[in-house]
């Protein structure tokens, strides 16, 4: 199965879309194009010339060479790839959403604002926070918002000069330190203990005057609930630091506890994880950020909510209208031009509307039950180990370590992943979290069937058996995918690096005559 590049398709003069001619009267009145010569494009862009038929066929084939939740489980840990209910697809394609301009008069979009208002409220209730902004476009965007809120908080309290550090556990998502860093903070890492909890002694030893805040996800990337969260909260609050909750793993606790109840001040939510919006092969997502309100400055009457980014929808009792507010004075500002990523937000709204609080608790329960059932199937397979918190149940995900397998046979986590692909499964997140050697971070979510989970476990067993009997075979995987293993060295080598077709043609193709 090989599909040419769109540049290799087509034929001179073909087109995929008819652009109308300007009306005669329009042409006459305007006379002609008066753009100064020096800025007028002379050379047309080297775009392909393809018919509509070819476009449809090309992308149809590319989709058939892709794999999503619609094809089977995508058990990427922490990515929470659950089923994306098709009703939300239909609703989010409604012209009464698609055709609304972001600067349109608020009085003309009351229906949408009501949806967004309710969503803010629901998310606040789910997380136990007080106010939410739907502005951020993704989880990392929400994190960055949170970091900026922490920054602003300390700035308003005139202590930013000394509040220079953000504490992050070593099991955290990569976005956490990156966000903290984008926010101008120094990142201080704390290790996890054998039980999977943060090492409290280590934590205490780094917390101090310069602690601006702490970022954790709970349950952690190990799938373990941080049992000392209340104490951690006290310690951080004790130095006037703020606690940030990374919502990537919210799917493991909804209905049992809430970030707001645990002592967090700020939390983001991944609509495209917990609330069923699709991930689109990389995005769009939506990463609302919420705060537990608190007074920051009594004199100036500044509250934490005032710092939220973007716009919040509020209901004006007087006029009976929904409207957008933004505290221009204290808000951390805008992180993107307009309100938020409406399409995923509509998916999330629909998902929550149809499940309700009761249904969301079932989501959590089933996600956790699926994880622990999976563990029960794989825990005794030779070659895999489940480090940290040995006797503890996992929540939304589990991290297997293929270290024994690797040590015994040389077959690595990557080989295991390719062995899964070879059988038509998607692979778990590998080599993450970094604290687990040969990690296979696996999350099925509530929408996976028992049948698939069992098949997945069986395949892990098979892989183990093959690894111990014929490790070379394992290195060959995958054989059944549309291409064999990719040459990553070549892909990243400056001499062969080809990030676009034009570079490929110029550099790789012409220079090495390899095209």
């Amino acid at each position: 199965w090989d599909e040419p590049l769109i540049f290799e398709l087509g034929n001179k003069g073909r087109k995929g879309f008819i652009v109308p001619e300007p009306e005669e009267e329009v042409k006459r009145k305007v006379g002609g194009i008066r753009i100064p010569e020096k800025i007028l494009r002379k050379k047309p862009p080297n775009l392909p010339e393809v018919s509509e038929v070819e476009v449809i066929r090309h992308y149809t084939r590319l989709t058939e060479m892709s794999y999503g939740v619609d094809n089977g489980p995508v058990p990427l840990g922490s990515c929470t790839m659950k089923y994306n209910p098709r009703i939300a697809w239909e609703i989010s394609n409604d012209y009464r959403i698609n055709m609304l301009h972001p600067l349109q008069d608020e009085r003309t979009i009351q229906g949408l604002l009501e949806i967004l208002y309710e969503l803010q409220k629901w998310l606040a209730n789910i997380t136990g926070m007080d106010y939410c902004s739907l502005h951020p476009a993704a989880g990392a965007h929400g994190e960055f918002s949170g970091i900026l809120i922490i920054r602003k908080y300390h700035e308003l309290k005139k202590q930013l000069d000394r509040k220079s550090e953000i504490i992050i556990p070593d099991s955290a998502h990569g976005t956490n330190p990156a966000s903290a860093s984008m926010g101008g903070f120094k990142v201080v890492e704390v290790p996890s203990g054998e039980d999977g909890n943060i090492d409290m002694e280590a934590l205490k030893s780094v917390v101090g005057e310069s602690t601006a805040g702490l970022m954790i996800t709970n349950p952690s990337t190990l799938g373990l609930f941080e049992e000392n969260v209340v104490e951690i909260s006290k310690i951080i609050h004790g130095v006037d630091g703020l606690l940030y909750y990374d919502g990537a793993n919210l799917n493991g606790i909804m209905g049992y506890t809430r970030p707001g109840d645990m002592g967090f001040d700020i939390a983001h939510i991944n609509i495209h994880k917990t609330f069923g919006a699709p991930h689109g092969g990389g995005g769009p997502g939506a990463g609302p950020v919420c705060v537990k309100d608190k007074l920051i400055d009594e004199e100036r009457n500044i509250w934490l909510r005032d710092l939220l980014p973007g716009y919040r929808v509020v209901y004006d009792e007087k006029t009976g209208l929904y409207k957008l507010v933004n505290n221009e004075k204290y808000s951390i500002g805008l992180l993107k031009a307009f309100f938020g990523n409406i399409v995923p937000l509509i998916w999330g709204y629909t998902y929550i509307l149809m499940l309700g609080s009761k249904g969301l608790r079932t989501v959590t329960e089933q996600a956790v039950l699926n994880t622990n059932y999976f563990i029960s199937l794989v825990k005794d397979i030779r070659g895999y180990d489940i480090p940290y918190g040995k006797d503890r149940y996992r929540k939304h995900e589990v991290v297997l370590s293929a270290k024994p397998l690797y040590d015994d046979t040389g077959v690595s986590a990557e080989d295991v992943a390719k062995g899964l692909l070879d059988a038509g499964f998607y692979a778990p997140t590998i080599y993450f979290p970094l604290i687990v050697h040969e990690a296979l971070m696996t999350e099925f979510t509530e929408s996976e069937t028992i049948e698939y989970i069992e098949k997945y476990a069986e395949r892990l067993q098979e892989i183990s058996t093959i690894a111990y009997s014929d490790p070379e075979k394992a290195k060959e995987w995958p054989l059944n995918t549309s291409v064999r293993r990719v040459d990553n060295v070549r892909a990243n080598h400056p001499k062969t690096l080809a990030p676009t077709w034009r570079i490929y043609m110029e550099k790789v193709c012409r220079k090495y005559s390899e095209c």
Binding site: E23, R41, R96, I97, L103, R151, A337, R485
Partner: protein
């Protein structure tokens, strides 16, 4: 609870089977490690206002949402708002293709062997966009124009390590200014604004020369600028910028590049822009598509934010696509990453790629011409009814400001009157640019036919005439 369609294992039988195999009595046991004092009781949770508390049918949900959607008013095509998001036509082919589940429901392609289709689609987006921009390297998307710009500025601060100043044009999108402020606020950097020439609406070159200095890491130019006018001196600006070893960043409207010289040809080091016009709906502001491109210079490329897909080979020599230069990224580099971006706008990028493929070499030019003609026709007609449509003396592309000072009322009044006629007028910009008085920015695209424009002109003429009486 009953079994739920989205939760296949939520039947009594399966749950019991699973619990038994695990060896626990009930699901609550899994949550025993959550301290009592921070747990929420089932009763309390069930009574929280979250959805309708209990699961409901698709039938019921549809009715509830339908009721809300019916309270939205769609003005398109009689909507003349721009300001960074534009009503354009979205070909049905795009809606169809990006609905296909293999794209829609997939994740970032960490496992290239099973995801060649979406990798190729994203590589093609990068490549098509590179041709349009005449730039070498394009990442596989940012959130939107504004955040792409902010990241471009951060990137230039990394590339020009010891320089601490950024020059922005005062005629850039004022919303983007706010986003830039947010992104740059944690960093030790000065932002200065270059004035625009009040005669031409374009960047004042003299002011630029006065403000640029050795400490300047980057200079940004938006073309067409916020007023819709084409920065015809962009190349000259680029030379001024490069003379002092700064980076030249350009912000563009991709469709305008059918007619206007691309940033690559104008010497830009980084190009950013909004991909929304390329086949994405307005969607009240998102998801859009942040375009981000740079030259093939490893000093720049290594500092790029975002995902990049590369064309390479598989072990057996066949063509293959994969994510490249991941060592720049947060999941590898953590605190030292070039950006924290992870989830981007991949599906929007694919939509834009399909759009560019559909239009092709000649279509993009024809479309730009059509928009040029329609917007200039609107200008001519509105001029005839006595509106001040010629605030600036250079040439614009798809939008231009109209000053209403001479009609004796605030623009708000005009806006209300148009609304009464089911027309949504342009964007009031008097608050951002007080020097321009009662001014609104009107945008015209391929969706606005001559009849639509004539209708707008007619209604505006009625409003003006009524005011005269």
């Amino acid at each position: 609870m009953d079994s739920h369609p989205w939760i296949p294992n939520s039947t009594r039988e399966i749950r019991e089977k699973m619990l038994e195999k695990i060896g626990v009595k009930n699901i609550d046991e899994f949550f025993n490690d959550i301290p009592r004092n921070i747990r929420i009781s089932k009763e309390e949770w069930d009574n929280l206002e979250i959805g309708l508390k209990k699961p409901i049918s698709e039938i019921t949900a549809r009715r509830i949402i339908e009721e809300k959607l019916s309270m939205n008013k769609v003005f398109v095509p009689l909507l003349f708002l721009g300001g960074g998001a534009y009503p354009h036509y979205v070909p049905s082919v795009i809606k169809y293709l990006i609905s296909r589940g293999e794209f829609l429901t997939s994740y970032t392609p960490y496992q290239p062997e099973i995801s060649q289709g979406i990798l190729q689609a994203l590589f093609e987006y990068q490549s098509l966009m590179a041709e349009l921009l005449d730039m070498d390297v394009v990442n596989s998307s940012m959130y939107d124009w504004a955040s792409a710009l902010a990241e471009a500025l951060l990137m230039s601060l990394r590339v020009k390590k010891n320089k601490k100043k950024i020059l922005l044009p005062s005629n850039m999108n004022p919303i983007h200014k706010r986003v830039v402020n947010t992104y740059l606020s944690p960093h030790n950097v000065r932002i200065e604004y270059v004035n625009y020439n009040h005669d031409t609406g374009l960047i004042d070159l003299e002011d630029l020369k006065n403000k640029i200095d050795n400490d300047t890491a980057a200079v940004y130019v938006q073309s067409p600028n916020f007023f819709g006018y084409i920065e015809e001196n962009a190349k000259e600006i680029g030379e001024i910028v490069h003379d002092i070893d700064s980076l030249f960043i350009m912000g563009i409207d991709p469709i305008s590049l059918g007619l206007i010289k691309p940033p690559g040809e104008l010497g830009a080091d980084i190009a950013v822009g909004e991909g929304q016009p390329l086949g994405l709906g307005l969607n009240y502001g998102g998801p859009y598509l942040g375009i981000f491109a740079t030259r093939m210079d490893m000093k720049l490329v290594r500092q790029m934010p975002g995902r990049i897909i590369g064309l390479t080979r598989s072990v057996d020599g066949s063509r293959a696509f994969t994510m490249i230069l991941q060592t720049r990224e947060q999941h590898i580099r953590r605190a030292k990453a070039t950006s924290n971006i992870c989830t981007n706008e991949a599906l929007s990028a694919i939509a834009a790629a399909i759009y560019l493929a559909l239009l092709g070499k000649s279509g993009i030019r024809k479309l730009a011409e059509l928009i040029y003609y329609r917007s200039h026709y609107a200008q001519a007609r509105l001029r005839e009814i006595g509106l001040n449509t010629d605030i600036f003396k250079s040439d614009f592309f798809k939008e231009f400001p109209i000053n209403f000072d001479n009609i004796g009322v605030k623009y708000r009044y005009v806006h209300e009157k148009l609304l009464e006629n089911n027309i949504h007028g342009g964007l009031y910009i008097g608050n951002w640019f007080p020097e321009l008085g009662e001014t609104a920015l009107y945008a015209f695209t391929e969706i606005h036919t001559k009849n639509d424009i004539d209708l707008l002109v007619e209604k505006l003429a009625d409003i003006i005439n009524e005011l005269k009486r």
